[in-house]
């Protein structure tokens, strides 16, 4: 019966899926399941009766307990055994349970073995991962946190605590965690984000400022991600990173960039940066405004896209020279012509731009618009020219005045001296007569001078449009008696609709003087004919006055012709004033007069009416 029972027991045991063995208190294997025996590479008939210590010979425990200590104990024991090393190692977890007989006598141990190699591997992997994670978070200064909504428990990893400068033993809660954030924006923001993540499941990632436990302000990046279960947020998990240094350097970079941008954009000069192909890679506001294009439109363009061909050629050549020679071009006066023909004068500097290896990779250009200055300079130069011309005229006039007045006063002095020493009465009377002549001459001279001064001082007399043809006809009529007397023929070829800008009185004086001049210096050999013509010339008009009179040797007298009191013919009527006066009148109106002549053929005067003041 006992044997039958034993065999039945034996079969039952043999088939157990869990590796199970029965060992007596003496350590002798009483029975075992096939699965148990299989782990030792045994079959049942060899195994029964052997000492289990021998079987466990190649095994190590990890708990420090020996097999002997585990066997035959009245309490259950667990021990892990390892066989082999490295990749071939196999782990078993053995449970030693006390084995009693019917009378509750301890007769041995029931050993149950479980292959836990996979679990051990996973455990090791997990440890490795945890290690890795903590190292990583330590190196990257990235910490993590976790909040359980149900238990209201907040977990901080070591790194997170380190960033907060709290001891490892510190246990955080939500309120305290939030109060670490700097009052104001940071604290309000994190409260809001945390709330939103909990209530609405919205993740966040934000740069904020905390004040650490030792009172230091630091920038951190905090992120949070809700973890849902059955559509409900149960946990928040997030990272926590110290980014103080990055933010500071970022801030510094931003500040210096801001400074540079503000400077470049607001400087009242055109600033641009070009690459080695002379393409613009940066332009400032002034440059955009000047070219009338947006920043985006200008990037990548060359001067050929914005200026006319000639300007662009010169400018690009400068660019390439600066980059080739690596020598800056400083303060060069340049002329830029835009595609629409608009010209601008610039004071341009081009400076080669080096990369970190010292190689030229472009240039910085700075141009200042000096068109206004240029214009002023031109105006000034004009003014200087006009002034020096006026000055010359004044000096000339002063000499004329002094000469003419002096000659009279000299005569007075001389005659008076004679008078004082003269005793003869008739001679005295003669001297007095001469004195009165001298006085008349002086009066006449003063009147002449006055006339000249009038012309040169009344520069503000207004010019009016005058029909030249009609004006000539009018003067002809006024002079009709004079003209008839000298049998003068006037050919008025001036176009009937031609108008000129002139001061009326001056125009009359010019025509009158030229006419009387022609009569005075007519040739007695032929009938005097005067031909008048006019045509538009640029913005002004040329009025030509030709006669067939005596003519004048211009080589001899050309430079004196328009001088005061210069006469060149033996003519009693000549006073040497007419041409001087009309020259002054024409110049006062901004015009000029020229002469061409051939002796005994005739003379042609060309009067240029400059009609700027329309």
């Amino acid at each position: 019966m006992k044997a039958v029972e034993r065999i039945a027991q034996h079969y039952l045991l043999k088939q157990l899926p869990t590796a199970t063995a029965l060992v007596g208190v003496d350590g002798i294997l009483v029975d075992a399941s096939d699965s148990w025996l299989h782990t030792f590479g045994l079959c049942s008939k060899d195994a029964i009766g052997i000492l289990v210590y021998d079987l466990f010979m190649g095994y190590n425990t990890d708990c420090g307990k020996s097999l002997r200590e585990c066997l035959g104990k009245s309490t259950a024991q667990t021990c892990r055994f390892k066989k082999g090393d490295g990749s071939s190692e196999v782990w078993y977890e053995n449970t030693f349970t006390p084995w009693y007989d019917e009378r509750e006598n301890l007769i041995g141990s029931i050993i149950q073995a479980q292959n836990i190699t996979e679990e051990i591997k996973k455990e090791k992997e997990l440890n490795r991962m945890i290690n890795l994670l903590s190292t990583k978070s330590e190196v990257a200064k990235v910490g993590c946190w976790e909040y359980n909504i149900n238990t209201e428990q907040l977990f901080w990893c070591d790194e997170t605590k380190k960033i907060h400068k709290v001891p490892a033993s510190y246990t955080p809660n939500v309120n305290e965690a939030i109060s670490f954030y700097k009052q104001g924006y940071s604290r309000n923001k994190i409260s809001m984000l945390f709330h939103k993540a909990m209530e609405k499941g919205i993740p966040f990632n934000e740069k904020l400022v905390i004040i650490t436990d030792n009172g230091e302000e630091r920038w951190v990046r905090v992120s949070g991600k809700p973890i849902e279960q059955n559509g409900e947020v149960v946990k928040l998990f997030g990272t926590f990173q110290d980014i103080h240094e990055q933010v500071l350097s970022e801030l510094q970079t931003k500040q210096s960039q801001q400074l540079l941008t503000t400077l470049i954009d607001n400087i009242p000069m055109n600033v641009f940066i070009k690459d080695t192909d002379s393409r613009k890679i940066l332009v400032n506001k002034a440059e955009c405004d000047y070219l009338g294009k947006s920043h985006e439109e200008l990037i990548g363009t060359t001067d050929f896209d914005t200026f006319d061909k000639e300007s662009a050629k010169i400018s690009v050549h400068e660019d390439l020279e600066v980059m080739r020679t690596q020598k800056p071009m400083i303060g060069k006066e340049t002329l830029c012509v835009k595609k629409n023909g608009e010209t601008t004068h610039f004071l341009t500097s081009k400076i080669p731009l080096f990369d970190l290896d010292g190689k030229v990779n472009g240039l910085i250009g700075i141009s200042m618009d000096i068109t206004g200055l240029k214009k002023k300079e031109d105006q000034m130069r004009n003014l200087i020219n006009v002034t020096s011309l006026q000055n010359k005229k004044l000096i000339n006039f002063a000499h004329i005045v002094s000469h003419n007045l002096r000659s009279h006063s000299a005569n007075f002095s001389m005659l008076l001296k004679f008078l004082a020493n003269e005793e003869d009465e008739t001679e005295k009377e003669r001297i007095v007569g001469m004195l009165s002549n001298a006085s008349n001459n002086l009066m006449e001279t003063l009147e002449d001078l006055n006339q000249i001064v009038d012309i040169n001082t009344n520069v503000n007399l207004e010019k009016k449009p005058i029909n030249l043809h009609q004006n000539i006809t009018k003067i002809q009529k006024n002079l009709s008696a004079f003209l008839e007397k000298h049998k003068l023929e006037v050919e008025n070829n001036v176009p009937e609709n031609l108008e000129i800008q002139s001061i009326p009185a001056y125009l009359d004086s010019i025509i009158l003087n030229l006419m009387t001049n022609a009569v005075k210096y007519r040739s007695l050999d032929r009938k005097l004919t005067i031909v008048l013509s006019a045509k538009k010339h640029g913005r002004g008009t040329i009025f030509s006055f030709s006669d067939n009179g005596l003519g004048i040797d211009l080589e001899k007298y050309g430079n004196k012709l328009f001088g005061m009191y210069k006469t060149f013919h033996n003519n009693k009527e000549a006073r040497g004033l007419g041409l001087y006066i009309i020259k002054n009148q024409i110049e006062a109106m901004g015009g000029s007069i020229t002469v061409s002549s051939e002796v005994d053929k005739g003379t042609t005067f060309n009067v240029y009416f400059n009609e700027e003041d329309k």
Binding site: H399, A410, N411, M414, F418, T567, N570, A574
Partner: protein, 141 residues
């Protein structure tokens, strides 16, 4: 008053101002003895007369009073013409002007250096004819 009457064969006065001419003649009277004083309105007239005298072997003027500002041919132009003439005797030329233009004075200096004749520069008013205006010998002393 005057130490010696200088005898002069011929004098030219070239000036278009009758008062100056009158003055010169009047001032000449007490210092010079001359039967041949000729008046000209301008340089051209004087030059023509001079050339005529040279042709006909007449008296070449010993002294010329020459105005600068005159019509047709002024004093400077007259001087240019005189310089080119082949004359055996030196002429004393007194340039008379009321001009205080420094350019005239400069021109005179240049002309004096070039001219073989004796060139004096007299600014108006003139009150007296100096011996040097009539005699080159006095210049040397």
């Amino acid at each position: 008053m005057c130490i010696l009457m200088k005898k002069i064969s011929s004098i030219f006065i070239v000036d278009d101002d009758p008062i100056t001419v009158f003055g010169i003649r009047k001032m000449l009277k007490p210092v010079a003895l001359c039967d041949d004083v000729q008046i000209f309105q301008n340089g051209k007239e004087a030059l023509d007369a001079l050339l005529k005298r040279m042709d006909s072997g007449g008296d070449i003027p010993e002294v010329i009073f020459l105005d600068i500002n005159m019509p047709i041919m002024d004093g400077w132009d007259f001087l240019e013409e005189i310089m080119d003439l082949e004359l055996k005797e030196k002429i004393i030329i007194n340039m008379i002007t009321s001009s205080i233009d420094p350019l005239d004075h400069q021109k005179w200096n240049e002309a004096k250096a070039k001219c073989l004749h004796i060139l004096n520069f007299k600014n108006k008013p003139i009150f007296k004819i100096e011996p040097t205006d009539l005699d080159c010998i006095h210049l040397a002393s």
